[in-house]
């Protein structure tokens, strides 16, 4: 009797434990259990960013908990080589499954037919306006990963030490930068200024151009590189360059490092670059402030799109990953790692982030009216067209050429080639 009662009790206990164990197991989607293991290669230059790369990767790999049969694998390519490597790889029928790319590359790959329709990933998602340009010829080929707006950023402590004001125009920028240089010994203002860094420089310069009201094409879609607005923007950049406030010869990584080390007063940078400056350096993120650009009109933004390669053998899984990324869970995971960058859906910056990053709010406000760095109608040809513009700017700042004459020459060459 005792034995049978014990056996009964043991059976009950075992059943209870079994049921409890079953209930305690994390719920997994049925498809995840049934599917064979898949590895998705995700290419992005941001994986190499010191702290941001790690945080972004931690955010996206949360998908592996939702879909345990999927393993995400990084393909980290330096930003300077990213376009070359991805274009060459896809041109050769290879490359990653998912590409996180700048808008310019997105249009090139779309035009070459290397991206597949990812409309299914967007079904039911509350995508915002940053996704509009992801639709090419009626097909959704891209979903926004991040949109990084440009703003004027400054080291508040240097500004206070020099008694300098936050500038509202280029003359003010030069005056405040000079005050910082004279009174603190730091560098006044950082800016890309070399053709060796063409892709970064032209995107930065778009903020100057748009700030002066430039449209690189007219209403009929004809290129207009030598408008009075473009001449004014070039002249303003020349004035800034000649004022001696820029560390001539420094590339952008060096300038950002200097900013991080409290050696620079002002910079015009995008929110992604600013997040880099604010993370993991001697400059406390609470000492970094931002302001609208010192121009009359709104500036530019850089946009990164997500796309799936037509050479991917796991297209359906890649699209499923993107579908998760635009869910509330996916976007929440991305939020803090992305700083104040606009994401595919409207996810506000957390209070905790705002409290430690007083610079974040301005970027969010500027994102409303910012413009793409690409030339409308010439999206995939923007880089070679902007090379002509930047060569003209270089002629003006290095050789002292007349801005109008230099841009006239650029216009002539552009009309002959494009």
């Amino acid at each position: 009797m005792t034995t049978s009662r014990r056996r009964m009790l043991s059976l009950l206990l075992a059943s209870a434990l079994g049921v409890a164990g079953f209930v305690a197991l994390p719920s997994r989607p049925a498809h995840a259990q049934a599917k064979p293991p898949v590895t998705l290669v995700v290419a992005n230059s941001q994986w190499l960013d010191a702290l941001r790369g790690k945080n972004l990767w931690a955010a996206v790999t949360k998908y592996q908990q939702v879909a345990p049969h999927v393993t995400l694998q990084q393909e980290a390519i330096p930003s300077a080589d990213f376009n070359d490597k991805i274009t060459t790889a896809l041109g050769a029928g290879q490359g990653p499954d998912i590409v996180m790319m700048q808008e310019g590359l997105f249009y090139s790959l779309a035009e070459a037919g290397f991206l597949v329709d990812i409309g299914k990933a967007a079904e039911g998602a509350a995508l915002n306006h940053t996704n509009e340009k992801g639709v090419v010829k009626g097909k959704r080929l891209g979903i926004a990963w991040q949109r990084a707006v440009y703003a004027l950023i400054y080291n508040k402590k240097l500004l206070d030490a020099a008694g300098a004001a936050v500038p509202k125009d280029v003359d003010g920028l030069i005056a405040s930068s000079k005050a910082i240089q004279d009174k603190t010994g730091a560098i006044g203002f950082s800016s890309r200024h070399q053709i060796a860094d063409l892709s970064g420089w032209f995107m930065d310069f778009q903020s100057w151009a748009y700030g002066y009201g430039v449209n690189w094409v007219d209403g009929a879609g004809k290129l207009t590189l030598n408008t009075p607005e473009a001449v004014a923007a070039t002249a303003a950049f020349k004035k800034t360059f000649d004022s001696g406030i820029i560390p001539v010869g420094d590339d952008m990584p060096t300038q950002r490092t200097r900013f991080k080390q409290k050696q620079i007063g002002f910079s015009i940078d995008n929110s992604g670059g600013t997040l880099n400056i604010a993370s993991g350096g001697p400059l406390a993120s609470t000492d970094l402030y931002s302001a609208p650009l010192p121009f009359k009109a709104p500036g530019a933004h850089q946009q990164i799109f997500l796309g799936v390669s037509k050479h991917s053998k796991n297209q359906a899984e890649a699209i499923a990953f993107l579908a998760w990324l635009v869910t509330a869970d996916g976007q929440r995971a991305l939020r803090d790692a992305s700083g104040p960058d606009a994401l595919a859906t409207d996810v506000p910056v957390t209070e905790a982030f705002r409290a430690t990053n007083p610079w974040a709010d301005t970027f969010a406000a500027l994102a409303v009216n910012s413009r793409s760095t690409l030339i409308p109608g010439y999206e995939s040809k923007t880089t070679p067209i902007m090379r002509l513009v930047m060569e003209a700017v270089e002629k003006v700042i290095v050789a002292g050429a007349d801005p109008k004459a230099a841009l006239d020459e650029a216009q002539k060459q552009a009309l002959a080639r494009f």
């Binding site: 274009t87 041109g91 790959l109 880089t383 090379r387 002629k395």
Partner: protein
Amino acid sequence: MAAKTTMRTSALGARAAGYLFIVPPVIYLGVFMFWPLARQMWMSLTNTTLARPNDGVFVGLANYARLLETPAFYASLRITVVYASLAVLLGVTLGVVSALAINRPFRGRAVVRGILLFGWAVPNVAAALIWLWMFNERSGVFNKMLLGMGFSRLRWLTSIDWSLPSILIVTVWQVAPFVMLVTLAALQSVPEEVREAARVDGADPLNVFRNVTWPHILPSVQLAALLVAVWSIRRFDIIYLLTGGGPLGSTSTLVVKIRQTAFEAHELGIASAYGAVGLLLALLVAGIHNLVDRRRMRWVAER
């Protein structure tokens, strides 16, 4: 009869062995050199783009015609010739002088030789980054020295006047040790008894060098000069990392132009045409070297 058959078999075997030895390099060169070269030449006659490398359409000599109409092509050709010529002139001169200097035994020669070889041993990318910092306008050691001596700062890499000379400084720092090594090896093979005989005949050190040492090391120096010239025509990494071809195209050699055309404008056809011109230039240099070498041989024979 049997002996004849054996001889024939061994002759066949010897011939087959010859072919057998030559097959691997022929396959290697065919796959990794001649096929890509042939493909590049074909591509230069098509409108191939980077995104569609296999879909180019034959356009005849249109790419070459476009090159000839572009002022930037002539500028890059001129810069390539100037850069390669000065790299050879300065690199070879410095290399030969260094070799002569360290050929004599002196205390600490091994250390000096090691220091002089440093430039050759450092990888190009690392060298470019080191020099990038030394040339930095604000924090670079060169400008600090200039300021210390009471001069003003120079824009080493960002002014039209100084960018090419700056790149030449780095290039010479890299190639001179190679020339020095080659020359040193040649110098150490000059028979001492011939030098001794010249001295006994009353030749002073300059005459010993001119009539004994120099003719002996000349073939090696010529070969080193040829290699330096071809490498300079092909050099990309240092130029690209230091200036990216700028400012205002003042360091934009043909190879930099190839990169720009292929990866910015995505025009592989035009880029291949630039490459073909670079190849022609290298062949021209090799041809000149061959001509000079033949004349030297004839001169030696007639002497």
